[in-house]
Every structure is written in structure tokens, then in C-alpha cells.
Symmetry: C2
Subunit: 720 residues, 2 copies
Amino acid sequence: MLIILALAIVFSLLLALLNYLRIKKKPAGTDQMAEISETIRQGASEFLKCEFRILYIAAAGIFLVLAVFVSFTGAACFLIGAAMSALAGLVGMKSATLANVRVTNEARETRDVGRTVGIALTGGSVMGLSVAGFALLGLFAVYIIFGVLLGQLEQQRITFHANFLSIADIPFTMSVSCYALGCSVIAMINRVGGGIYTKAADMGADLVGKSEYNIPEDDPRNPATIADNVGDNVGDVAGLGSDLLESYVGAITSSMILAIYTYYSKKGASDAISHSLLLRLVGYPLLFCSIGLLCCTAALAAFNLRRAGGDAKKTLDNTTYLSSALTVGLTALATNLYLPQDIALGGIGFSAGRFSPWICAVAGIIAGILIGQVADYYTSYAHKPALAVAKASEEGPALTITKGMALGMNSVLVPVMILGLCIIAAHATAGLYGVGMAAMGMLSFVAVTVSVDTYGPISDNAGGIAEMCHLDKEVRKITDSLDAVGNTTAAIGKGFAIGSAAFAALSLFASYLYALAGEDSASGISLVLNILNPLTLAGALVGGALPYLFSGILIESVAKTAETMVDEIRNQFRRNPEILEGAMKPDYNRCIHISSKGALKEMKKPAFIAVVSPLVAGFVFGPSFVGGLLIGTTLSAIMLAIYTANSGGAWDNAKKHIEDGHFGGKGSDAHNASIIGDTVGDPLKDTVGPSLDILIKIMSVVALITVSIFSRYNIMGLVL
Amino acid sequence: MLIILALAIVFSLLLALLNYLRIKKKPAGTDQMAEISETIRQGASEFLKCEFRILYIAAAGIFLVLAVFVSFTGAACFLIGAAMSALAGLVGMKSATLANVRVTNEARETRDVGRTVGIALTGGSVMGLSVAGFALLGLFAVYIIFGVLLGQLEQQRITFHANFLSIADIPFTMSVSCYALGCSVIAMINRVGGGIYTKAADMGADLVGKSEYNIPEDDPRNPATIADNVGDNVGDVAGLGSDLLESYVGAITSSMILAIYTYYSKKGASDAISHSLLLRLVGYPLLFCSIGLLCCTAALAAFNLRRAGGDAKKTLDNTTYLSSALTVGLTALATNLYLPQDIALGGIGFSAGRFSPWICAVAGIIAGILIGQVADYYTSYAHKPALAVAKASEEGPALTITKGMALGMNSVLVPVMILGLCIIAAHATAGLYGVGMAAMGMLSFVAVTVSVDTYGPISDNAGGIAEMCHLDKEVRKITDSLDAVGNTTAAIGKGFAIGSAAFAALSLFASYLYALAGEDSASGISLVLNILNPLTLAGALVGGALPYLFSGILIESVAKTAETMVDEIRNQFRRNPEILEGAMKPDYNRCIHISSKGALKEMKKPAFIAVVSPLVAGFVFGPSFVGGLLIGTTLSAIMLAIYTANSGGAWDNAKKHIEDGHFGGKGSDAHNASIIGDTVGDPLKDTVGPSLDILIKIMSVVALITVSIFSRYNIMGLVL
């Protein structure tokens, strides 16, 4: 298993390097193109540099706290996680800022959609492969360095049963949890910071440019244009990369931790044979993901070798299908070799034999695809709901907003039902471990999902560069066709992101309860969270409100930064009316600076809330309250995430549909109304939605790591 | 206790009748005023007539189902509840449609704010007193007719312990639950129907009138003006009346039911002394509310006798404070006489002796006031948040919407924390019974809250009539000052509505678990809902999504009807341009008809979902799933209700603030943006928010009534 893991890491990172060099070698086009792309690159680098400064401080602070209160190994693992997450974001952003202008240039030189898609996806693949490669590299390090300790668990078991709460002190689960925490914290900062950056620039540019002065998107006269393009790289590339790396790590580690907890929670299962089985069940998610990564590497390599045809959508779909089919098939084979037929975990029989965890993973994949399809149904203008939003724009912005909101609200039920059914099925097949495996399944071919997701902002940027350099209309048309495809595939990616976040959070939540649970003398631990306990109920209420607070703060941050941006743009137009005539270059850097400064200032509060709220709740109200808090937050955040993502997506697509010439087309009243809808939806779908996914995991991990402390020391416990 | 109850009913209904006659005696003003008020009255009556037809069918259907599957007495109680709820709505609407024009006339004749307030509050008091009076009258009937059976409970206990599930068959709890169901179903239909009616008319009028043609609100040239005014009576009077009657009944009955369940769930508590105590604990909520109603009647009578001063706000506040202070004081006295010092319920010791339930009720009142204050802070333009929304309007509608949404989301946490603390405190004082008592406390002086709430739409209508009859500006100014006060006091009323709905739903949910729970041999019933049971977890997920679906459908219904209205208004303007010049009377009746038809058509689906979803879930997935469903729905609905209410309120007040001349005043771009915000907020705050309050109670009651059936017969149980 470790060999396959090592192979996967090496191959994926090698291919990432190779693709990076291939991109770099390509020409960047005219001087103007090179200049603009250089501005974008610098803006993005500068922001990341500033962000990393905050990140160092946050990481150092958490490292110290962990080292003092938890353990030094845990603190070290935290740092590894943080480093991997930051690295993946950095590498992805570097390659995306190289690729964007080269995509434009390829379109300009060859006018060949196939070759253009090739560059864009190759650029994206650097990010995809790095995300998965670095995530597994970090896990490999943690596993090797501290996993040796897994063999020593046997000895620990005695201590463990003597004082059950010390289950949280099992070095391996602790190391893995801290590793996941490292990834989560960086993801949160990257996602929130990037999300505020990109949407403030986008909103600011739209508010003045489109709504007031009627100049098109990406027009070089708009001073915020380049900030908007920088934002794509900062938010949609670096932010998304850290985000999905965190999801990936969260899904893998929560399965591993659950396997250990489930095993140790039952006294009856402590014989030597089942212990060797435990080792296999802990290793199984790693094996599964290694195979997934190898398959992705193969699929992306195959794409590189073959000359892509003219149909961008087909190319992307083929790569996705190839990698997922390979993953499902090969993991089935590996399962057959790796797991014994007769398995059971902590007294829980696996109802489908050795294939039980595999079935759960596949169920997760299917659930993820279905959720993506539902999102696509609600947000794509090929279907009725988003079309109705577009049509409502004819009646003005109020109805556009109202209809889009209603659409988002209506879209919550079906995905959630799919999640519910998947939970019931996974639990019936392999217990709580199965729920973790379902999350892991969804993300097993993350390398390709991220590649395809990153392809989107690269194409978007490429279009922007074409516009700003006044290239031929034909060029813009090619990049637009690439961009359109990216939007559809991104919907499916979002399905996996939300679904896996929900499952990973629930698995971590179950681990939290294991870590907390008292031992039942007869049958080991009874895993119960009684919602009727008044403390738990109060916790669930407060927990349900946290995602709202978190979202509210994020939206306000975006709005606040966008307002400053609006003032700046207006000022530039007022002071130099020549800008509007195209006779003078606007001051792009001031806008870049505003976005950057706003994002850096505003991102601290939400990130802080995510990390600190379970701690405060734990030390004041104790572990039952925190149990309620976690489940309340998880439930509420899932709903809000789906609602915001789909409302935002529908407004975006309704606008695009109108821009395609329907309901009056560009410049009509309906178009103006749809722009307002899109502007409202932007922070919802690209800042709030994805950040909520991270919120629920970060809170669960923090609670899991600290429960052994606050379950002993809390104000409520001292008072009562 | 029964004597006090009877006295309260008689006195309150007498005063209601007296006030009704007093209002009727007043002159209606000029012929034009009489004509317009007649049109409003007819529109409202016609709608209620049509609505009642649907209501008969729904009631008859549910009656049959109850009679066949549950019990005939239950079905009869259901009908009593339905009749009381419908009656209260009808009486309130009758008096409101009489009072509105008389308020205008009083302002026209006397120019005296004090006398005008007098008419408006007297008109409102008819509704307030009827709501409380009819609610208690129905309960009295149920208590007398079927409460005799309470004495027979002793005999039932043996059956009960032999087959625990038959706890749901205890005749008294069943009767009371069915009575509450009757009130809930009518409230749901009235609230949803009225909410769609009024907001569709409002939205339609605003979309064309204010946004397109820049004609002011209530302008007689707008064909939807009268429909808008009818809507106020249908939605904000009749809808609100049934709604609060339902809350009132829900709060009282859930405490009564919980007392019985808590008692019978513990074998140890079955001696004769504690049984007589049980009777007192079951009667206590009735006693409390009777005293509350007597105090309200006294306060409102005192108001009638005294000549009101010129300060409208002071008058309303004084009446509210007087009634609540009287209630708190007198109930303390009554508690001292009615309850023995040493009380305990089902083994749960009451930590503050005989005053325990009283303390919980007072805690509920305090919580309700605090929640109202928070709502006031977030929505009133005297404070920063709503001001920021008004300011953002200068940057166009997108930022208005974004800021308002963020405000609503931010406003969820504090009220929910207050609820959480109140739950912890009430539970520590008197167990789950205490949580029910907290809900009851909030609503004990409902007669005054409803009077004050109804005063709002009456003043609103009065202003509309003044505008439409081209009366002196001075008159409009007086009615506007009345209206402004109504908005502030309504915020506190909403705090009580949301808080009591949450507590009542949780109490009913606890009763559901009692009805479901298996018996623990040693210590009676252990009341546990384990959220980690996969069925419960899946149920909680689906439950969390239901309020979103429900809200989405409601918003869409309003939008759809408003769109038809918009087309109609545009058509009238296009066909007869003289309307816009004021030379020709528009066809008001067509608009009234559109609102009415739309509301009647659209209200069926959401009402159906509310009643049927727990049944379907129960018969397919069984009782554990339904437990999750209820808690998921309750949590999610509380958050959504607060969010929608406060966002909507803030948009409304931001608009008013701009209309007062700030940020550019009427006709400015900021004003247009704020109108869009208000239009988006209208269905949120007046249709979705209040309906969610009813949703959670109706689902809990349905589940409670049917659990004994679907816990035995469900597909999941048959398959597994």
C-alpha cells in the first residue's frame, strides 16, 4: 500500500512539473499581452505574499497552542498540513497565471479550439495534480513518521481503557487530526481571503462599469478590470486549490480516524487478527486515493499525448469519465487483494463483505454526480428554473432577485435527500466508517476535478486578456466557448465539494462523539448524542445560527470592499474623463491594491470565528453543548451552501442567457436587471458557499482535537 | 380555575362586542370615503368567502381521516379548533374594515391624534380580545367535554403501561392535540392565503406604480391600490389573528400535554397525591392565560375609559406595559394559592418550588421582549444596521439587496442565543414542562399584542383611504404618524411570535418523543433522540431542507401572482392612458380578483406540504426518521424565520428613511434602489417568516397525533 502511495505521489508531482515546464515554454504573444499578464501575475503574487504573512502568524500561533496544550507531534503535523495546503495553492496560481496569456496566444495564433483547450487544461492539470500529490505527500509523511506509532497502539490500549477520554490522545489519530487542521486553516484563510478579493473586484467593476457606464465586462477602460482578473487567480485558483486539498484530506483522515475509534470503542474486538484488520482499514482510504491519483495521472497524461479535438466539452468530459471509470475499476481489484473477505469493525459486521467500504465509496461517487446534476438542472439556462429567472428580469430587478432566491430555496431539498439516502445506505453497509468512505469516494479523483475546475478561471482570464489587448473577435469567441464549458463542469465539481464536506463533517462529528463518549460497561461505547439534552439543544440552536453569522460577515466584507472599489473607479472616471474615451490608461494598480487590502483586513474575523467558536463553547458550556453546536452548524451550513450556490449560479446563467440575445439581449432593461441579480449572487456562490464547506470541517476538527481538554475543564462543569 | 377561565372568556368577548358596536356607531365620513371603504370591505369578504370554501373541504377531509383512524372525539375537537380560529379571523377582519375609514374620518374631523389613536386601537382590540377569547372558549369546551375524562386517566394507566405506545391514545392529550391541529390548519391556510394575497398586490402595485411610473403609494390612479388595502385586511388582520390564536393554543396545549406525558412516563410517580398535583399542573397554563386575558381586558377597558393623549407610541406602550405587569403580578399571586409548595413532576424536582413554572413563564416573557428588542435594533432606522442598508441604496439596488441580506444573516445569532439560554434556564427550573411554560408566558397577554398588531394595518388602511379620497395633507400626516408607531410595536410582537413558536414546537417535539419512547425498566421512559442514528440523521437533513422548500414555494407564489398583477396594471394603463392623468377611474375589481384567485390557487401546495410531509415520512421511514425531520425542520425554520423577518424589515425601514428625505429622498436613485429592496423583502417578512412559525407547529402536532399508527406500520419497519 505504501509503495502504491509513493508511486502515486511521485508520478503525479512529476507530471505536474512536466506540464508546468511545457506551459512555460510556450510563447506569451504580443508585448501588450505579456505586459498585461505580467500585471496580473504580479498582482496575484503580491496578494499571496501579504496573505502568507498573516498565514505565518496564524500558523505560528496555532502551532504554539498545539505544542503546549496538545502535543509536539500534533503541532508538527499541523505545520506539515499548512505547508502542503499553501504549496498547492501557490503552485496552482503560478501555473494559472502563466497559462492564461498562453491560452489567448494559442487562440490568436492557431484559431484552433482543440489546441487552445489543450493549453488551458494542461495549465489546470498542474494545479489538480499538485493538490492531490501534495495532500498525499503530507499524509505519507505523517503516516511514516507517526504511523510507526500505530504499531504501538497495542500498548496504549490499556491506558486507553483505564481512562477513556484519552482516546483523543492516541498519537496517530491526533497527528492525523492536526494534519487536517493545518490544511483546513490555510484553506479557510485562502478561500475567504481569495473570495473577498475576487468578488469585491468583480462587484466593484460591475457596479460602476456595467450598471452605470454600460461598458462591457473586461473592458480595458474599467480600472478594476485587472483586479477582477487577479481575483480569478487568487480566489478561483489558489482558494479553490487549498479548499479541495482540505476536503480531500478531511475525507481521507475522517475515515482513518473513524476506523480507529470504532475499533477501540469495542472491548470485544481487541484480538490480534482484528487488529491487523484495523491496520488495513486505516490504510484502505489511502490505498483507494493513491489508485485514484494514479488513474488521474494516467488520464491527464493520455490527454497530453492525444491531440484534443475541437469539442471542448467532450475533451473535459472524457478526461473526467476516463479517470473515474479507471478509479472505480482498479480500486475494486485492489479491494479484492487488500481486504479479507470476512471483515467486521468494532463488532459492526460489514454487510457486503470485503467490498463493503468500496461500495460506500462508489455510492459516494454516485451521490456526488447526482447532486451535481441537480445543481446543473437548477442553474443552467438549458432548463426551466434559470430560464424563469431570466424571463423575470424583464419585469425589473426585484423579480429577478425574488425568483432567484426562490429557486435557490427550492433547490435544497433534492440534494439533501440524496445525501440522506446515501447516509442510510452507507451506514447499513459499513457503519459510520462507510459514511467516511462515501466522502472519500467522492474525492478520490480530485486531481481531475481540480484540473477541470482550474481550467475555468484560466479560460476566463484568457478572454479578459483578449479583450484588453483588443485582439480579434474570433479569439474572444474561442476563449468564450472554453469558458462556457468550464461553467457546466464546475457545477458537478461543486456537487462533490458540498457532498464530501457534509459527509466528512459528519464523520468527524462521529469521531468527536467517540472521543467524548463514556464507556458502557456491557457493550463498549454507546454513541449517542441526545438532542433533548437542554445543553445540546441550546448548542444546536446556536450552531444553526453560526453559518448565518459567518455568511453575513462574508457578504458584508465583500460589499464593504466593493464600495471602496466603486468610489475609486468613479473617482478615476471623474478626474480623468479621457479614460472613458479610451485615450488614457486607468490606474489599475490602485484597484488591485484596494481589493488586496480589503481582503486581507476582512478575512481575519470569519476565519477567527471558525476556529475559536467551538473552543469558547467547549470551555464555557462543555462537550454536550459543543455536540449540539457541531450538528446544528453542519445541518444549517449544508442548506445555506446549497441555497447560495444555486441562487448565485442561476443569476449568473440568467445573465449569460440574456447576453446571448434573449429577452432583449445586451443593453436592455432585462439585461440590467440580470446584472443586478448576478452582482447579488456573486458573493453568495463564490465566497459564502465554498467557505461554508470549510467551516463545518474546521469546527469539527478543532472540537475533536480539544475535546479531551474541555470535557474536563469547563465553566458549566465547574458550576454544576 | 374553571371559574376564572369562564370569567375571562365572558369578559373579553363582551368587551370585544362592546368595542365593535362602538366602532360601528361612528360616522364613516364623506360618500367617497364610504364607497372606497365599502369596496375594501367587499373585497376582503369575498376573498374570505372563497377561502372558507377551500377551508371547509380541507377541514372535512381531515375530520374524516381523524374520525376513522384516530377517534371521533379527536375529530370533534379538531372541528372546534378550526371553527374558533376561523371565527377569530373573521371577526377581526370585520372590525378592521369598519375601523379603517372611521380612523380616517376621525382624523379629518378632529385633527386630534389622541382620538384617532383611540379609534384605531379600539378597532384592533376587537381582534385581540376575540383571538384570546375564542381560543380559551374552545379550550374550555374541550376541557369540559373531554376533560371529564381526565379523571378517568387513572383507569387508563394500566392499559398505558401494558402497551406504552397507547400513550398517544390517552383521550385528553389526543383531544387537546386535535384541537391544536384544528387551529393550526386554519392558521396555515389563512396565513399563507392572506400572505400571498397581500404581498402579490403590494408587489404588483409597487413594481409598476413606484418603479415604472413613479406614482406614490396608495395613489388612486394605481389599479392595484385597493387590492393592496384589501390585502392588509386579509393578510395582516385575518391571517395574523388566526396565526396568533394558533400560537396561543399551541403554547397552552403543549404545556398541558407535556405535564401529562412527563407524569405518566415515570412509574414511581403514580400515587394519588401526585395525581392531584398533575391535575393542577395541567390546569396551571389555563389559569395563567385566563388571568392574562382578564388583565388584558382590564387594560383595554381602562384605555377606553381614559381619553388618550397625543402621543400614539406612549398610548400603545402603556397599554402593553399595564397588561403585562398586571399579568406577571397577579399570576404570581395565583400561583401561590393554586400550586402546593413541594411540587415535582414525574420524578423531576422543580428547583424553585411552587414558583418554578411561573419563573419559566416570566423567563419566556423576558426572552420575548429581548428578542423583540434585537429585531428592533436590526430593523429600525434609528440604529446602524438598517441605516447602512439605506446608505448602500445610493450605490444602486445590488448593494441594497446584498447589505440587507447580510444584515438578516447577522441578526440570527443573538435571538437564537437568547432562546438557547432560556431553554437551559427553563429546563433547569422545571424540566421540559418549563420550556412549554416559557412559550405560554410569552403569549399570556396575547390579547393586547394582537390589538396593537392589528392597530398597524388599520392605520395603514386609514392612510390609504385618505390618499385615495384626496383628503387634506394634514389627515395623511396624522395617519402616517400612527402607522410609524405600529411598525415599531409590531417588531416586539414578532419577537414573541418567533420565540413562542420555537418553544411550542420543541415542547410538542418532546411530547412526540414521549409518545414514541420505549420504556426503560428501571427508571421509566428515557427521553432520547439519538442524532447519530442514520435514519434520524437523514431525517434531520431532509427536515432542514423543508423550510427552504416551503419558503421557496411561497416566494414563487407571490412572485407569480404579482407578475399577473403587473401585466394587468400595465394593460390598464396602456388601454386607458387617461387613468394616469387621473381623468378616469381604474378598474380596481380586476386587480382584487387577480390577487384573490392567485392566492386561492397558490396556497394549497404549501399547506399540503406542511400537513402531509410528517405523515409520508412516518409511513415510509418510520418514527426515528420523523424525529430527525421534526428537529431539523424546527432548527432550520427558526433561523430562516429570523433571517427573512429582519432582512425584510430592514429593507422596509431603509426605504421609509429615504422617503423621509435622507440620501436623496423620494424620487432619487437611492429611493428607487430602496424600493427594489422593499419589494424583495415584502414576501420574505410578511409571507415566509410568519408561515414558518406555523409550519413547525403543524408538523409536530401531526406527527404527535399519528405516531401511534406509523410507529407500528411503516415501510422501513416492514422491510428491515
